[in-house]
């Protein structure tokens, strides 16, 4: 992306983000009270985040690869299961991948 396109992307996404937040504060409460709306919104969040995990861990351009990111994700999952705080989870994953690459793998 060129600098101009990237700026436009940043600003349009920011505007959309604020519009969504403000809409919640302005629209009548009962509009969102439908269980189906809430369920769907919750599930979409889960799907997007899980899909981002998959893409960030296995995609290299359009190829699916297994490299140092996979054991790093496993370490992150273990840390989360042990209720480690967010920042520690991220640091442990990065350290795992960095360590494996320093040893010449992935």
């Amino acid at each position: 992306m060129t600098t101009t396109v990237l700026w436009a992307t940043v600003l349009v996404a920011s505007l959309a983000s604020f519009a969504l937040k403000l809409a919640g504060h302005l629209i009548p409460e009962h509009w969102l009270a439908a269980g189906r709306v809430q369920r769907t919104s919750t599930l979409v969040t889960v799907a997007l985040l899980v899909s981002l995990v998959v893409v960030q861990t296995f995609a290299d351009g359009q190829a699916v690869v297994v490299d140092a990111r996979v054991p790093a994700l496993a370490v992150a999952a273990l840390a989360l299961a042990l209720r480690a705080p967010f920042i520690l989870v991220v640091v442990l994953a990065a350290a795992t991948a960095a360590g494996l690459r320093a040893l010449g793998w992935g």
Binding site: V10, S17, H25, A33, S51, V54, A72
Partner: protein
């Protein structure tokens, strides 16, 4: 009320700190330092920010970047509807409250017992996260510029771990687990076939279908959350309760 302020402050510090990882990942994704700061100041929603730079890093289209980021921001609309009646603000304060409506501020606000503590919790957490998230984004962005090859530092793996940490507290319910499994299958299958950014949107589409065709959860109590909370008087709480663990 003092407990709400204390709780909000600790959430703000923990959440603010991972602004470092966002700042660093953003500049190594090819987003400039001013653009990175614009994201933290204006977009101000962690998951959406990580998602946007993820699509940019993978060479996805601007449309895919905006769409992914925006779909992740839809939950903030629900949060706004939950906290708005609790805060009772008008005018410019309402605009400020809207910008500060995120996972953390909502979770702390609804976790309080009385109205004064709810307001204190929301504003302490919202303002605290905003200030620290932006400060640490700047630190990370400046550091990221100096890092060199992001792969040598494992920063590419850090992004996947960040998304996993964000989704982790949301996986308690059975239906969320089903959608997660479908999302894994759909995105893995599509990565070789479609441009970057599209597998993520396809996974979201699957979740919309599941959400629309499925009825209320039958085993909500058994899965330990009552997470969908569509009974009277509990609306909105379930989704927020799940998020309460995030960032601590």
């Amino acid at each position: 009320m003092r407990a709400a302020v204390r709780q909000g402050t600790s959430v703000a510090v923990a959440t603010g700190l991972y602004g470092i990882s966002f700042g660093a990942l953003s500049v190594v994704a090819g987003v400039s330092v001013p653009q990175t700061m614009a994201l933290s100041l204006l977009l101000f929603s962690g998951g959406s920010q990580f998602a946007l730079i993820g699509v940019v890093a993978a060479g996805g289209s601007p449309l895919a970047a905006v769409a992914t980021s925006t779909m992740l921001g839809v939950r903030n609309t629900l949060y706004g509807a939950v906290v708005s009646p609790l805060l009772g603000v008008r005018g410019w304060r309402r605009l400020a409250a809207a910008q500060l409506t995120i996972d953390e501020s909502t979770a702390v606000a609804v976790g309080q017992r009385d109205p004064a503590a709810t307001r204190a919790g929301f504003w302490t957490t919202g303002v605290g996260v905003f200030v620290l998230w932006n400060a640490f984004t700047l630190v990370g962005a400046l550091a990221g510029d100096a890092l060199g090859d992001p792969r040598a530092w494992g920063l590419d793996a850090a992004a996947g771990a960040a998304f996993l940490a964000l989704v982790w507290p949301r996986l308690a319910e059975r239906r969320a687990q089903l959608v997660a499994a479908l999302a894994v299958a759909v995105s893995a299958a599509l990565i070789p076939l479609v441009p970057a950014g599209v597998p993520v949107l396809a996974a979201a589409a699957v979740a919309i279908v599941v959400g629309l065709v499925s009825g209320p959860p039958r085993t909500a109590a058994a899965t330990g959350g009552g997470t969908d909370g569509d009974t009277d008087g509990r609306r909105g709480r379930g989704a927020v309760d799940e998020d309460a663990e995030e960032g601590r």
